[in-house]
């Protein structure tokens, strides 16, 4: 079961390493991890995507909560939520295929953010599925580089993760 867990963490050196060490020490998966300070500079917000049985997910949230520097956390997949991931893709293309690629970028509502004679750099935001699907549709171009931010998420409506 794929889960998106959002964590408010004390913005202190070493806090992130405790989270990462917890996952490796207990053999849990991390599919993606993204972290940055919030509007309150003393707090970082960390989003991680993991998978496992219900029992493992329960342990993951309990073990995370046990870390002294974890202030609060929520399993976003428990409720209605929005998830986004950003991707930068560099592709090499020939002049006859440029139009086709631009069409795909347009369909996926991406943007070309850098260009030269043979290279497009494309920016795309969406769910992880959408990004995967975009890459599949790029098969006609030669992908040189893919950079993905990892998933971040937020609950819909009134619900929020804040202190």
């Amino acid at each position: 079961m794929r889960r998106i867990i959002s964590v408010l963490l004390e913005n202190e050196s070493g806090a992130l390493s405790r989270v990462v060490a917890l996952f490796s020490a207990r053999g849990y998966n991390i599919e993606s991890l993204t972290v940055a300070p919030t509007e309150d500079p003393s707090l970082s917000r960390l989003t991680l995507v993991t998978s496992g049985s219900e029992q493992i997910i329960e342990q993951i949230t309990k073990q995370l909560n046990k870390l002294i520097e974890v202030v609060k956390l929520v399993d976003l997949t428990d409720g209605s939520h929005i998830e986004r991931e950003m991707m930068l893709v560099k592709v090499r293309t020939s002049s006859e295929k440029r139009e086709h690629i631009l069409q795909i970028v347009d369909i996926f509502r991406g943007r070309v953010i850098d260009v030269n004679q043979s290279i497009f750099t494309i920016e795309l935001t969406g769910t992880s599925d959408k990004l995967d699907s975009f890459l599949e549709n790029l098969s006609e171009a030669k992908i040189i580089e893919v950079v993905r931010s990892g998933v971040m998420g937020i609950a819909r409506g009134e619900k929020s993760l804040s202190i």
């Binding site: 029992q55 309990k62 002294i68 520097e69």
Partner: protein, 566 residues
């Protein structure tokens, strides 16, 4: 505001203000400033060990016996790495401990400086929390946080790493009386609704079983537990860590459960319909094969650590909270409740248990001409009238101590249950002896384990610690040998302890009394004589039956009802 002090002064002043009596440690370059401050005062007594691992075990023993945090001071690099085993030992058994480590100066951190190691990194997986103090402004509050975290919630070791230059910087010091952390607020009161549901289930039980663990000892919940057990009239068993919380001589006591638990305790677990787990964590040495564990039981689990609940075994009624507080609430509800346990069903259940008990699973050959280790422990129990503090190392002797010394008080049985650290027994006994100088403190050990921290005999002489060492010497790493006999067709790979020292001479060369006991008839006399030497450390080397095994035993992968009896 307070007076201006440098970092080293703050450390010592803080320990004094915090009421720390003993500091177990070993000096070195990075902590020299702190040692210089120690020299100038007398309130905080520093105990000089011979190896840093022993410092942590001493602090640990002190903490287990008193409930107060044990405090350690060691230097950077090897000082800290030597302490790691003791920190991990305390972590696995949830023992409150604060370890202060020296660190190279801040401007050298990360430069592979002399005696530099990433203390925070190396201990991260085996501490409740740790800190690197980079500014003297943070020192006092960090130390306060360390004590707060170590002693509250589910206790554990906390490490504070102090770079050498921070010891030299000065700032105004004021003792931080309190500390609040937005990210750390352990739950203590159990959920009232859950407690009510639990009581209802408890009263509906036909074949109940109470299973307690170290949490009852750590949570000082023995009195509440005793009332709970007496009110209900239900059978009680305990893990290795929980021994003493309920008095072993009582009739409702079934003995320890688990891999080397009694027949009646394990069969009772397997057959019960309601299991009440209190401050225990369903460790693999307790459950045996999880698939076969308590097949017909509804399970109630009280624990202060939410992550202990449903980690290994899914439970029906979880209650997160301090075991003492929850038990008090349950006792109140039980007294108020008009419903009482089903006496007919209970009588039948007890009858069944008595049949199991009549198996007398802890029997052994009492006529043997070679000393049986069980007999030594049993005799020690009689000679000390069950009143001694008993520490142990790890292996067969540890199990025999647990089975044959019938603890009737909490905090008297001190051993490394979770990590299983050989070398724990002697330094732990020393820590206990510091806390209780007038009491009898015995270390039950083996010739393998005792050699892992034997150098502390020197510390014992320096501080005149009259620890009584009961060495069950079977010339084998007994538990390893037992497994090799059972599961590796008698291939005794490396389990034979060759080239043993003459322990009597060894003890004497350290300035202590040594005895070697080879005949069963001499056991009682030797123990009595040793106990009468109130102010001397006595090393008793009992030459025991080398073929003796620990029974009963549940082989790996088997259920609690699939025991090997004698």
């Amino acid at each position: 505001m307070g007076e201006k002090l440098n970092g080293a002064e703050i450390v010592i002043r803080f320990l004094k203000d915090e009421g720390v009596e003993y500091l177990f440690g070993y000096p070195g370059g990075a902590v020299l400033h702190i040692y210089d401050e120690l020299y100038k005062q007398e309130e905080v007594k520093h105990i000089l060990v011979r190896h840093e691992q022993a410092a942590t075990h001493m602090a640990d023993g002190y903490a287990r016996a008193t409930g107060k945090p044990g405090v350690v001071l060691v230097t950077s690099g090897p000082g800290a790495t030597n302490a790691v085993t003791g920190i991990a030992t305390a972590y696995m058994d949830s023992i409150p401990m604060v370890v202060i480590t020296g660190q190279v100066p801040t401007d050298l951190i990360g430069n592979d400086a002399f005696q530099e190691v990433d203390n925070v990194g190396i201990t991260r997986p085996c501490v409740k929390h740790n800190f690197l103090v980079k500014r003297v402004e943070d020192l006092a509050t960090t130390l306060k946080k360390a004590f707060h975290i170590a002693t509250t919630g589910r206790p554990g070791p906390v490490l504070v790493d102090i770079p050498k230059d921070v010891c030299r910087q000065s700032i105004k010091y004021e003792y931080p009386k309190q500390v609040s952390m937005r990210s750390y607020n352990p739950t203590t009161q159990g959920h009232v609704g859950q407690i009510k549901r639990a009581v209802k289930l408890i009263l509906s039980a036909k074949r109940p079983m109470i299973y307690t663990g170290g949490g009852v000892v750590i949570g000082n919940a023995s009195d509440a537990l005793r009332q709970f057990v007496t009110t209900l009239g239900y059978p009680i068993t305990s893990t290795l860590m929980g021994l003493g919380a309920y008095p072993a001589p009582e009739k409702q006591w079934l003995g320890m459960l688990g891999m080397h638990g009694t027949y009646e305790a394990n069969m009772g677990m397997h057959g019960c319909d309601v299991l009440i787990a209190i401050g225990a964590r369903f460790d693999d040495r307790v459950t045996g094969n999880i698939e076969k564990f308590c097949p017909s039981a509804k399970i109630i689990h009280i624990d202060i650590d939410p992550s202990s609940i449903s980690k290994n075994v899914k439970v029906d009624i979880p209650i997160v909270g301090d075991v003492g507080a929850v038990l008090l609430e349950m006792n109140r509800l039980l007294t108020e409740n008009s419903k009482t346990p089903d006496q007919v069903a209970l009588a039948e259940w007890w009858q069944q248990i008595e049949t199991w008990r009549s198996e007398n699973c802890l029997r052994y050959d009492r006529e043997s001409e070679i000393i049986k280790p069980q007999m030594v422990v049993e005799t020690l129990y009689q000679v000390t009238q069950g009143e001694a503090f008993v520490t142990s190392d790890v292996g067969q002797h540890q199990m025999w101590a647990a089975q044959y010394y019938h603890f009737n008080q909490p905090r008297r049985w001190i051993n490394s249950g979770g990590l299983g650290t050989m070398g724990f027994g002697l330094p732990a006994a020393m820590g206990v002896q510091f806390a209780y100088p007038e009491h009898t403190v015995c270390c039950i050990t083996g010739e393998g384990s005792i050699q892992m921290n034997i150098q502390e005999l020197s510390t014992c002489l320096q501080y005149k610690l009259p620890v009584k060492i009961i060495n069950l010497n079977n010339r084998y790493l007994g538990m390893v040998r037992q497994w090799q006999e059972f599961f590796y067709e008698n291939r005794y790979a490396m389990s034979y302890m060759d080239a043993l020292p003459d322990f009597v001479k060894l003890a004497e060369s350290y300035g202590h009394v040594g005895m070697c006991i080879e005949k069963p008839a001499d056991v009682e006399g030797a123990l009595k004589e040793a106990m009468s030497l109130k102010d001397r450390l006595v090393f008793m080397d009992f030459i025991t039956d080398r073929t003796e095994n620990v029974y009963p035993m549940i082989p790996a992968g088997a259920g609690l009802n699939e025991m090997i009896l004698v």
